[in-house]
């Protein structure tokens, strides 16, 4: 390959979705070229283990269709854009595992609503992205297909890259790693308690979890039904708006889907925050907060003021109960949602002992990883007779109180600004204690419990050169406000860092 070609390919993988869209329409490059450049990047990045399955044919076919549509002048909004798809989304004819052995080899005969919408808009699929098993995890260490390696490496004092492997966050860690490493400009993620926002923060990209019900859950392997929401992960806020718009919309096949119009979110991006009241929840100022996180937060508050916003102090008094409530509600729902993986109809079956119960036990013992088993056990326990009232019912009450906290906050502010995660990315094995891992969700879980739109925007680097993210939380259905605040922060932060290629 000549150097110019190589440069051109690199340049194509550096493009944002918006730039791809504009370049394709201007015929600066073809969708086929765009697909090939990304397919090559995906192949070259296998050490990251971001993909469980690569689907170059899918991307090329979509590119060919896009080129033809572009020639006719009738291309869809995402025509020719190659995307990564989290392996939680059922993709017709392409293995869908949710990162678990129990679904290894499972090829759905149906397409999830979200991916169907993306493909109908002209996007292609580069492959299925690795993830924490059944979306349970914050580091991608629970995947049955090997952990995803972050493209980021810390810088040593001498300026050299450390060899220490870092996690890409989770559960959408394949998504965050692939977008940050320029394997795709956009990927789907899902967020139950922070699974879009925390990995976005860990890898220096943007990601938004919309209002619960914005994106259909039909065809998304369920973790915790009342919390699961799909959303986009991209390198900037504009791309989040573009991709979210294509993913959203009412779906009669999902009873919890919102029958609300999908606004033009991209058009709402002005960066002008005049008249916007930005709330700072005092309960998020944790004792012993990482000074680098605190500094980023302060910088973020300065930036929004510069953009015209006023900053107000607010209280979310039940914040400290959010994490315990979440780790009751989510496992409870999961323990029931995962009952269908029983070896009877699809996926793994381990026949041992000759009885139905023995088959169940052997199949589920072999098919589920330890974290999934832990949560099934927690969930089973909290729903059991005699414990239901003490745990599940109490947690639901807490959930109501947390939603009320936010509703009260909206009386005095329009969006909330907080850090996304309490730390930068850590290394695999650093949080071997599950409770330490769960604490990573401390800032993201409350808004999940309340079903609110929330996004993470890359805001700063640590002293060792690792990205940190700011979280913007908004009112129900106010993705426009969230995205615009994110847009203002992004512009002010001027975050331009990218992982140096070592793979």
């Amino acid at each position: 390959m000549e150097w110019r070609d190589a440069n051109r390919m690199t340049a194509l993988t550096d493009l944002t979705l918006a730039a791809m869209r504009d370049g394709l329409r201007a015929r600066s490059f073809s969708a086929a070229e765009l697909a090939q450049a990304h397919i090559a990047a995906v192949e070259a990045a296998r050490p990251l283990n971001a993909f469980i399955v690569e689907t170059p044919d899918h991307a090329l076919k979509a590119a060919a269709a896009a080129d033809a549509a572009l020639a006719r002048g009738e291309a869809g909004p995402l025509a020719g854009v190659p995307l990564g798809i989290k392996d939680l989304f059922a993709t017709e004819g392409v293995q869908t595992t949710a990162g678990s052995k129990i679904l290894e080899g499972f090829v759905p005969p149906y397409e999830s609503t979200v991916t169907a919408k993306l493909f109908a808009a002209g996007a292609g699929m580069l492959g299925k992205l690795n993830m924490d098993q059944f979306a349970m995890g914050s580091s991608n260490e629970t995947s049955a297909f090997g952990e995803v390696v972050s493209p980021w490496r810390a810088r040593q004092p001498d300026g050299a890259l450390s060899n220490r492997v870092l996690v890409p966050g989770g559960s959408s860690g394949g998504s965050s790693a692939a977008v940050a490493a320029r394997l795709c400009a956009g990927a789907t993620g899902t967020d139950t308690g922070g699974s879009i926002r925390q990995p976005a923060a860990f890898t220096g990209i943007a990601g938004i979890k919309p209002t619960y019900g914005r994106c259909s859950r039909w065809g998304v392997v369920a973790f915790a039904s009342s919390l699961d929401q799909a959303g986009p992960m991209t390198r900037d806020v504009r791309d989040c708006a573009i991709l979210l718009q294509a993913m959203s919309g009412f779906d009669p096949k999902d009873a919890t889907s919102l029958d609300a119009p999908v606004p033009d979110w991209e058009a709402a991006l002005t960066g002008d925050l005049r008249g916007v009241r930005v709330g700072v929840p005092r309960e998020y100022r944790l004792d012993g907060i990482d000074p680098e996180i605190a500094a980023m937060w302060d910088a973020g508050l300065a930036w929004v003021k510069d953009a015209g916003a006023t900053v107000v102090d607010v209280s979310l008094p039940h914040t400290k109960y959010a994490l315990p409530a979440y780790y009751i509600v989510a496992p409870a729902e999961a323990s029931s949602n995962l009952a269908r993986y029983d070896g009877v109809r699809y996926g793994l079956r381990v026949n041992e002992g000759g009885s139905l119960d023995a088959m169940y036990e052997a199949t589920r013992a072999a098919g589920f990883g330890p974290e999934v088993k832990r949560r099934i056990m927690i969930g089973t326990y909290v729903l059991s007779a005699g414990f239901y009232d003490a745990y599940y019912r109490q947690a639901q009450k807490v959930r109501t109180l947390i939603a009320r906290d936010f509703a009260r906050a909206w009386e005095s502010c329009d969006v909330l600004l907080t850090p996304t995660a309490p730390s930068a990315a850590f290394s695999p094995g650093d949080k071997a204690d599950p409770l330490a891992m769960y604490l990573n969700d401390v800032f993201t879980v409350p808004s999940s419990l309340a079903g609110l739109p929330a996004m993470s925007v890359p805001a700063a680097l640590t002293a060792t050169g690792l990205p940190l993210g700011l979280q913007v939380i908004g009112r129900p259905l106010d993705e426009a406000g969230v995205l615009n605040a994110g847009f203002a922060l992004e512009r002010a932060a001027g975050f331009a860092a990218r992982p140096e290629r070592w793979w």
Binding site: A98, W218, V221, A255, T256, R340, D342, Y346, S384, Y388
Partner: protein, 497 residues
């Protein structure tokens, strides 16, 4: 002494029985409770299964509004409280024919609350049985254990079909009441159109809760006999289980609260294979489904869509049409019969211009007599009747205008059943018209009297019974077509000499 309608005389004294029934009725709907799959009975295994019914990953339930409508209509027919907000819960357990690993049901907030059903048990006074609740739930699939020596096959056609579970209060005190309750409920469901009531196909089955007690004492421990699928078996299960409990108690034992099965071959109950531990179903609200909120308009529309129900219809037949309570009960037992009868009566009124009050009794007699006899012979229900209500009205109109006598009408009806021709056509073709012409009848009578002078003497000597002989002879001479009233009248005159 007990004033209960049914007691079991044990060796230590009398026992009363206390029964509550949980009836599972499959909702008549084209598709399942939470999926678009079809629900026809008898389809090839696993051909009526959607991705949702098979619990494929990522599939979600969406509530079928028609099932909600039918549940509300049924609740209204049971004079029950309709809950404006209800909710679905998950009942978690593992079984091969339960693909989700949970059944979606309504434990905490059922769609229908308390109501009642009026029953008329055979040989007992009418009674009102309380309804505790009615809720919607999914059916499970079917496990087939006997198709292979080592394997169980699973048919998911039924998986996800909508069931109404209708729970009675423990108000039932005899096997006859239990039977009458199931019959009345089945009839009501068929009137409402919310369930076809087909017990052979499993569209309706009952779980029978039975306990026994000393007269007036507190309720005893109950057992639940599952999936009893006919009225006769429900009655038999109640009696067999009650007698078993009495035997256990009188032998110094205690009743264990357990689930049992009815054995129709031996007419006894036996414990279900006990699963190692008692199930903890871990009910919790299904997070895939929103609460069901019913508007007043929706409930009002459901009420407006209800037909006249059996109890109201029966009293109208007695009060407005002058039928006997017995005939009214027979005609209203099945909606199809009542509809048929009403169509016949309406057409008869139209044809004759006579009031329904005058025509109802002969029409009722004809339906419950002539028609039912033919149906019994041909072995079909009224929906398979060989004559239409309009065809029958034509026949009965000919009786009403005295074109046909009762016995001629019988002949014509037989011919209608045989040929499918209309009554008028048969009357014309076969000349079966009744003769009321006194000249012809007098001539026939004169001939009969001339040939039987000895019998005339005997009759005049006081042997009144011979009048029948003269009637018969005259009718025979008239080939059965003479108007019997005219024959009677003319004969009396002639014999009086």
């Amino acid at each position: 002494m007990s004033d209960a309608p049914f007691t079991i005389r044990g060796t230590t004294g009398d026992w009363e029985i206390v029964v509550g029934l949980e009836v599972h009725a499959q909702v008549t709907a084209k598709s399942k409770l939470f999926s678009g799959a079809a629900t026809a009975f008898g389809a090839a295994p696993n051909t009526q299964v959607s991705l949702v019914d098979a619990a494929m990953p990522g599939m979600l339930p969406v509530l079928n509004g028609e099932c909600v409508r039918q549940a509300v209509r049924t609740g209204l027919a049971l004079d029950a409280e309709i809950h404006r907000i209800s909710r679905f819960d998950r009942k978690n357990y593992f079984y091969a024919d339960l693909p989700q690993g949970y059944q979606i049901s309504q434990l905490y907030h059922p769609i229908v609350g308390e109501g009642h059903l009026d029953i008329e048990p055979e040989g007992e006074a009418p009674k009102r049985v309380g309804i505790e609740r009615l809720h919607l739930e999914q059916d499970a699939g079917k496990s087939v254990h006997d198709a292979h020596p080592a394997m169980t096959f699973v048919d998911l056609n039924r998986s996800g079909c909508a069931l109404m579970e209708i729970v009675s209060k423990p108000d039932i005190r005899s096997p006859a009441q239990a039977g009458a309750y199931v019959r009345a409920l089945r009839s009501l469901l068929r009137y409402v159109g919310s369930c076809d009531g087909n017990m052979e196909e499993g569209s309706m089955r009952a779980d029978v809760n039975v306990s026994v007690r000393r007269p007036g004492a507190a309720f005893g421990t109950r057992t639940e006999t599952k999936n009893v699928n006919s009225v006769r078996f429900v009655m038999a299960a109640v009696e067999a289980e009650a007698r078993r409990q009495v035997d256990v108690l009188e032998a110094g034992g205690t009743i264990v609260q357990e689930t049992r099965l009815f054995d129709p071959d031996r007419m006894t109950t036996r414990p279900m294979r006990s699963k190692a531990a008692a199930h903890d179903y871990r009910y919790f609200p299904d997070p895939d489904l929103l609460p069901v909120e019913l508007s007043e308009t929706f409930v009002a529309d459901c009420a407006a869509s209800l037909p006249e129900l059996p109890v109201a219809k029966r009293s109208r037949y007695v009060e407005a049409l002058g039928l006997t309570p017995y005939d009214a009960a027979v005609l209203t037992a099945e909606r199809e019969t009542a509809d048929w009868f009403e169509a016949l009566l309406a057409d008869l009124v139209r044809r004759t211009g006579k009031p329904a009050t005058e025509l109802a009794k002969p029409a009722s007699n004809w339906v419950t007599g002539e028609l039912f006899a033919v149906l019994k012979r041909t072995g079909g229900g009224i929906e398979a009747s060989p004559v239409s209500p309009e065809g029958a009205a034509e026949l009965l109109a000919l009786v009403a205008d005295r074109t046909l006598s009762g016995s001629l009408a019988k002949q014509v009806f037989e011919a209608m059943v045989e040929t499918g021709d209309s009554a008028a056509a048969i009357v014309d073709a076969r000349g079966l018209r009744q003769v009321s012409d006194t000249g012809a009848i007098d001539a026939a009578i004169a001939g009969i009297l001339a040939a039987n002078t000895d019998k005339i003497a005997e009759y005049r000597g006081g042997k009144d019974k011979l009048f029948g002989f003269f009637v018969g002879q005259t009718m025979r001479a008239m080939a059965g077509k003479a108007d019997p009233a005219v024959v009677n009248d003319r004969l009396k005159t002639a014999l009086a000499g």
